[in-house]
């Protein structure tokens, strides 16, 4: 197969675009796609300071790499989730990436924020699915770090496959309020929130993995052990079968939703203006934000368990 642009030997075949690329042309293609998404969706401009949430996976590190390459002012944010060896390896990977490129990195660790706040502990004590507990805590710390650091934008590495799987899940249950918020750019609804953007939302996992490989980015190949059995993986599997039968399906599904259908759900997004959490001061729709409510639940369960252990000992 030959490169669609320069006719050299192709190293990558993008079935969705019916195109092949050699290494230099592919890297140029990938950067252009990110640039176009940033411009088309008005995600941010060169003067703004971007906080990039990085996990050590291919998507977030590829995003950070391409944003730096495009000349944006960025800082990485790593959140240690406390998921055993997986978190240790992802931390080392992110730290090595930032050190090698002399990039600023903000690090937070859930276990340091309070007893029993590592994701596995929260999941056990609150009997939640680990991904649900993880999502609530990530959102809180990302928002808090962006506000404390006075960043203009929070960028995440959500890719086409993530967005297509999420869209499929939302459509299957007709979750209108979720569909209303599924956009590549989320404008802040409170002064303590910053704009949230997903510059990779039209680039597939395959494309980000190829970019990371070609750029020599050392990323965590293994996925979070808690992801096993997650519903999102079932949706991704179904979408990949559709994609194999009809290349371009995922791209059209997400792109056309954002372009034509998303606005139809705009009214369903109206949750009012959030107030402030009585505990931490971050935006909240109730007395407590979802993170502080979770912390309170964990503390109550821990206290109950300690009391039961003391009784058993006596």
């Amino acid at each position: 197969m030959k490169c669609t642009r320069c006719k050299a030997k192709a190293e990558v075949h993008l079935r969705a675009h019916n195109a092949g690329f050699c290494r230099p042309c592919y890297l140029g293609y990938f950067r252009r796609q990110v640039e176009r998404a940033i411009e088309r969706e008005k995600m941010f401009h060169p003067g703004e300071h971007i906080l990039v949430a990085v996990s050590g996976g291919k998507d977030s590190l590829a995003l950070w790499d391409v944003l730096v390459g495009l000349g944006y002012r960025t800082t990485g944010l790593y959140l240690g989730l406390g998921i055993g060896g997986y978190s240790d390896r992802s931390h080392d990977t992110v730290e090595a990436f930032a050190r090698a490129r002399e990039l600023p990195l903000v690090e937070r660790t859930l276990a340091d924020e309070g007893p029993g706040l590592a994701v596995p502990d929260v999941a056990v004590s609150t009997r939640r699915v680990p991904c649900a507990a993880c999502g609530a805590m990530k959102r809180h710390f990302f928002d808090a770090a962006a506000h404390e650091g006075q960043f203009d934008v929070l960028a995440t590495g959500h890719n086409l496959d993530d967005e297509a799987a999420r869209l499929l899940g939302n459509v299957l249950r007709w979750q209108r309020d979720h569909l209303a918020r599924q956009r590549p750019v989320l404008e802040p609804t409170h002064p303590k929130f910053v704009r949230k953007v997903k510059p990779l939302y039209l680039l597939s996992e395959y494309e980000t993995a190829v970019y990371a490989f070609m750029r020599g980015i050392d990323y965590i190949v293994e996925e979070c052990p808690n992801a096993e059995g997650a519903t999102q993986l079932v949706y991704k599997d179904v979408l990949n079968r559709l994609e194999a039968a009809s290349p371009g399906t995922k791209h059209a599904f997400v792109k056309e939703f954002v372009r034509t259908a998303q606005a139809l759900f705009a009214d369903d997004a109206a949750r009012g203006v959030p107030g402030e959490c009585q505990q931490c001061g971050m935006p909240a729709y109730g007395a407590l934000c979802s993170f502080c409510a979770l912390v309170r639940e964990v503390e109550a369960k821990r206290a109950r368990r300690a009391a039961a252990a003391a009784l058993a000992g006596a």
Partner: protein
């Protein structure tokens, strides 16, 4: 050739020259869900791989292959001759039921001649592959 699958941490011995597309299909890997790497080079579906090649198939899907996740511990050691067993009608031959494979197109030539047709036993031989061919896939 030796084919290393990541993140499943499995190694497969595959005998016989073939295209990357065919290798992926035999291993139940959907196109564009894995990178095929030979040394420091990515391979497209039409590229040929040889007996003395060392190949890495690196899944790009978060969570890896859904039915085949194994991300820690020593590499898997399995000895199953996949193709040979299936062709002989062996009841213990590994089924494709759990493998990732594309949806069949409905009706017409594509469905009747799909290599993993509804019976599963009528898989056509590849061009140039005789009944006694040594080609096969051995899971190590």
């Amino acid at each position: 050739m030796r084919v290393h699958l990541h993140p499943q941490r499995r190694t497969v011995e595959v005998i016989g020259r073939r295209s990357v597309g065919r290798l992926l299909a035999e291993l139940g890997v959907l196109p564009s869900t894995a990178m095929v790497i030979r040394r420091d080079e990515l391979l497209t579906d039409g590229e040929m791989v040889e007996d003395d090649d060392e190949i890495e198939i690196r899944a790009v899907i978060s969570g890896g292959a859904m039915n085949d996740r194994r991300t820690c511990g020593p590499p898997a050691v399995e000895t199953v001759v996949r193709e040979d067993a299936r062709e002989s009608g062996c009841p213990d031959a590994p089924s494709e039921a759990g493998a990732l494979r594309p949806l069949e197109k409905t009706g017409g030539f594509a469905k009747r001649n799909h290599p993993y047709g509804s019976t599963g036993a009528q898989r056509p031989r590849a061009r140039g592959q005789s009944a006694g061919s040594r080609e096969g896939t051995r899971w190590l």
